[in-house]
Symmetry: C2
Subunit: 216 residues, 2 copies
């Protein structure tokens, strides 16, 4: 599963692993600690977050954290990267037969909640992202790409069905939803509820997808 790739200790599947004595590291704590880190990150932001906060939240000692991650930046990087896993599965997306049906079916309470969590984490690291390409790549991969990928699938299906024109820009369509939601949460500071998302689908995404081709 390789949830925490940062640590230097031996992997289970390493060929000639040193026969280390003594108590073994409790691997089940890794996801708990990373989850605590994400909570603190979402609540206080990157700079507000301290290692002691994360340790306290995970009911662990600071030494335990530093035994597993070399520094605060590496812990954050790992925590962000691990948000990728918990995303929606591309193979189990709704397939209702219509574009609107698929888009509306993706608006589910847990999905919205997980999206809002990701946005709060994103808000906590945005200022950091400009100066840390590695963190920027991890955030891209874990926070924005999965959502775009899911949207891509339903738009491509709509094109295959002939429901929308084949020459619309799928990449642009994919970003409308995430962009409107992110702007509402981070800039307007208004809640994202089901009504808002359905409104965005009907008033913006579908008109853009269905538009008669040719600008001007």
């Amino acid at each position: 599963m390789a949830i925490a790739m940062t640590q230097l200790d031996l992997d289970v599947d390493h060929p000639q692993a040193k026969p280390r004595l003594g108590r073994k590291r409790d691997q089940t704590r890794d996801p708990e600690i990373l989850d605590a880190a994400l909570e603190v990150l979402a609540e206080t932001g990157y700079d507000g977050m301290t290692i002691e906060m994360v340790a306290a939240r995970a009911k662990a000692g600071k030494a335990t954290l530093y035994r597993r991650w070399a520094s605060k930046p590496e812990l954050v990087l790992d925590a962000v990267a691990c948000m990728k896993a918990r995303d929606l599965d591309l193979d189990s997306l709704p397939d209702t037969g219509t574009l609107r049906g698929d888009l509306v079916a993706m608006v589910k309470a847990p999905t919205i909640q997980e999206g809002e969590r990701k946005l709060k984490v994103m808000a906590g690291i945005v200022s950091m992202i400009a100066r840390d390409p590695e963190l920027a790549a991890a955030a891209q991969e874990a926070l924005v790409e999965p959502r775009a990928a899911a949207n891509r699938v339903v738009f491509r299906r709509a094109i295959e069905r002939g429901e929308i024109s084949a020459d619309v820009d799928v990449e642009t369509l994919c970003t409308i939803g995430p962009a409107m939601i992110a702007y509402r949460v981070l800039m307007l500071r208004k809640p994202v509820d089901r009504a808002f998302i359905i409104g965005t689908i009907d008033q913006i995404i579908l008109p853009a997808a269905m538009r008669a081709t040719g600008p001007t």
Copy 2:
């Protein structure tokens, strides 16, 4: 002009202003210092910014800054609030006779540049905004509202001309552009050029504005 409202010294128009002796405070330094603060804020974010950086950038001493603002948060608050002034004038908006003409006319190099500057400042304070309502209000007022207000004008004119239906949601339309631009800069980390904005107008905003009424 009341650029810096935070300071406690006497206003010029105060009725019985104490006849203060000694050298007078050089008011022309205020905007220079606030501008330096915005630069540092955009480059390093709220937590990365230090008072010494701002002082150095403005070629001023730390004491000068603390003489005018009580603390770092108040300096930042004032700096953000003062970005409101430098925005586009609602009375001198383009009026080309068509919605698309007005929207395209608003896409000018200096406008884009100023918008990108504001977005970088926003990125630097996003994590702070969640915990400081006063800063959140200032950012709302100075960074997001002016842009929405300009858009409101051209959409309302389009409705008056009968170019678009009167029952479209103007508030939603106003946010599409800012949302797509903010998402592209902050999340996708791609450049915002003229082509992208024109594309957004033609592929998203105009289809949403022109759509045949009634969802589903």
